[in-house]
Structure formats: structure tokens, C-alpha cells
Symmetry: C2
Subunit: 235 residues, 2 copies
């Protein structure tokens, strides 16, 4: 048994993807803070285009899952919220706890809405993933059908945040989950509260939505009911 | 009167910032589609780090607005939804129309949630900005206090989308706005519906939240009630 077999993925490729993800997140961060002049920005643009060409040498089609992804265990390396390879993701980290899921995230200035604070829509993006992950951790894979977000106070940037959620209703195909965003140093004082309703699509809908999805080898691989939620750490 | 004076910003710098934003968006896009090996990813990572160093040569503090921003006219070049300089933004474009605001956006695979479709939280992010922009276009600047999102059908990637919203209640400091996300070729069939409540913070709250915000020259520049919504095109 190699490491590869035990993990279910190539650890060297995972390390390289996470390394690039991390560098791209720093690049996004500095790109909104830089005050270098137009000439320097244009030189940087030319360098970015060389980087694009290098990565574009070989690409996957949209309906083929990334090699490192595992749709059954919900390992999604390019998730725009939690993906280690995603330049869009802060990234948020989630782990299973007694009674639900907790997460942690710190948002830089690239996520700004009102000056100095997170964009309201970024809070709703975090909550959607937090609540969906909590539904998955409880054993139900579902798609969001309704999301309600109440904003109590602005969410500060560059401040460690704690995300917490639990299932409040579980009726088979339908789950209701509620959760909060708070400062990590005041986790019980919710800055934002969310409530999400998740429903597992019927089999015929699943086929219609995901019938052409394949894994990296080309084998059909539509998402189905979760058998395992290992994308959520259990530590 | 130079171009600079007429526009209220340096057009050459705007062009350079938008050019880098565009290249970084392509870089984010290709970074989730690439299938090059670990060695190539590590070379790309080293190149990205050189780019970070170039841009980090001179940066602004978090409380200082970017030089190209105008908080009064809501020109926000690094908005994570609509900013021309933001690598996180698709970017969405909004314009004022009779009775409200309409917008257009196309989402690439970096915004994926369920395979082949947009992340549910990305729809809520788009709606928060759409509804907030509609409130601003009606003359009221406010912060989101509640957002409700109903997901009717999954939002396809790589498909032109139409965003539409209108104010449904206007009670001075408080505005209620509703809006939809639909395919551009079927704009009346909502895939996602949203309703947002926006409230203008009281003056003492505004001071507490934004009292230390300055413009690029260091002059205090907290956001106040909108006098103009020129970030929303009127064409």
C-alpha cells in the first residue's frame, strides 16, 4: 500500500496544488493593496499572462472533475470557499464537532464591501458553505433551496472569525441548518446569523443535472447521497 | 480641464488596474482547469511569488481607500463582485434601467459548487450586491440587514446570466429590494430569487464603523448618504 492508495490521491500533486493556491491567494491580496504605478502594473500583467500560458498547456473540460477531487467524500480542492487550490477561497476550514460543524476563516481586503469590513455577500457565501457542510456532516447531501441571512454587525477584515452551525431539523430529504459568524475572540456574539434549507434532489433530477459528470479518468461520476463526509475534519 | 479632472480619476492608472484585474481573473480561471504536473505547478508558483514581490513594493494601509475609488459615487475598483481590478469578481456589470437595476455576468468554473453549476453562496453574493446597488441607485446608501435567497434551479456555469432588481419598499432609512438571477436567454424564468433589506446606519454608528477611513491622500473620507450612484451606468 503506497501513500497514494491510503490517501486516495497523489500527495505530491496535492502539495503542489495547495502551494499554487496559497501563492495565488497572496497575489490576489497584494493586487488590491498595491500602489505601484501604471508601468509596474503593466509589467506585472505581462508576467501574469506568461503564467496563464504555462498553466493553459493542459486543461480539463468543465464536466470532468479535478484529479484530486472525490465527490463521494466531498473533497473539492477548488471550492471557492474552502478549496486549498482556489485563489477565490480565503480559504475557510471546517471541522466536525459534537452536535455540528465549526469553522475558522480570516478575510483580507480583497473581500471588502463597506470600507474596512467584509462584503455582505461574502458573509452569505461563507454561511451557504458552512450550512451545506453541516448538512453533509449529518449524512445528507443536498442542494440549497433557501438561505436566510441576518446581519447584526459588520464583519471585520483581518480578524480571525469562528463559524458555527448545527442541524435544527432533519426530515429525510430535507434538512434545516442554522449557523453564525462571530469574531474568534467573542464566538458567542453573532455578527451574522444564517439559516439554510437543503434538499436532496430526486434521482431523475440528479441524472438531469449531473448525468454528464465524469471523474478525471473519464468514468461517469455524478454526485449521490453522501456515504462519508471526510472533507470535514473530525479532530 | 484634463481627462483626469473630467473623469475624477487617472485614466491611465484605471486602464492598467483593469488590465491586471483581467489577467488575474484569467489566471484564477486557468488555475482550476489546469492538468499540468506537480513540477510545472511549482514553477508557476515561483513565478507567482515574483509577481507578488513586484506588487508588494508599495502598498496602502487597510483604512486608506484605493486611489481610483470614489466612495461618494460608489466607484469601487476592487469590489469582489463588480470591481474591474478584482481577481475575485467575475466581474458583474450593473446599469440603471427604468424602475431598477439590471446586470450581466458569466461565471467560470472557479465559481463552481455542485459539479457544472455555480456555488449557491456565489448566487447569494451576486444578489447581495445587485440588491444593494439597486438601493443605492434609488438614492439610499445602506448596509444589508437581511438577505433571503430562494433557489429554484441550479445556475449554469459559462452561461450569460441576467440580474434584475427593483425597490419594493422605501421607508427613508430602510429599503426593501427584490431581484432575480436568470439565464440571459430566458430572463423571465428566475433560477434564484432574492430579497434584501438595507438600512442606513445612524450617524453615530457611521462614525464608529468608518471614522478612520481616509482617501488615498490621507483625508478623512467616511461613506455617507449617497448623493450620486454613478458606479451604476445610466445607459
Amino acid at each position: 500500500v503506497t501513500d497514494d492508495d491510503a490517501l486516495g490521491y497523489d500527495p505530491d500533486l496535492m502539495d503542489a496544488v495547495a502551494g499554487l493556491g496559497s501563492a495565488l491567494r497572496e497575489l490576489v491580496d497584494v493586487s488590491v493593496r498595491t500602489t505601484v504605478g501604471a508601468a509596474e502594473l503593466r509589467t506585472a500583467t505581462a508576467q501574469a499572462r506568461a503564467l496563464i500560458e504555462r498553466l493553459a498547456a493542459s486543461t480539463r473540460p468543465l464536466e470532468q472533475l479535478p484529479e484530486l477531487d472525490d465527490i463521494v467524500s466531498f473533497r473539492r480542492v477548488y471550492s471557492p470557499v474552502s478549496g486549498v487550490g482556489s485563489a477565490l477561497a480565503p480559504p475557510a476550514e471546517f471541522r466536525r464537532v459534537d452536535g455540528g460543524v465549526t469553522g475558522s476563516v480570516t478575510l483580507g481586503p480583497a473581500y471588502e464591501g463597506p470600507p474596512g469590513y467584509a462584503h455582505g455577500g461574502i458573509s452569505s457565501l461563507l454561511l451557504d458553505q458552512l450550512l451545506g457542510t453541516t448538512s453533509i456532516a449529518a449524512g445528507l447531501w443536498g442542494m440549497t433551496v433557501r438561505l436566510e441571512v441576518d446581519y447584526r454587525a459588520p464583519v471585520p477584515l483581518r480578524t480571525p472569525l469562528t463559524l458555527r452551525a448545527q442541524v435544527v431539523e432533519d426530515a429525510g430529504r430535507r434538512t434545516v441548518v442554522s449557523g453564525t459568524i462571530a469574531r474568534a475572540d467573542a464566538p458567542d456574539r453573532a455578527l451574522v446569523e444564517g439559516r439554510g434549507v437543503f434538499v436532496m434532489p430526486r434521482p431523475e433530477r440528479l441524472e438531469g443535472y449531473f448525468g454528464d459528470i465524469t471523474d478525471a479518468s473519464g468514468r461517469p461520476s455524478p454526485p449521490t447521497r453522501a456515504t462519508d463526509g471526510t472533507a470535514v475534519r473530525s479532530d
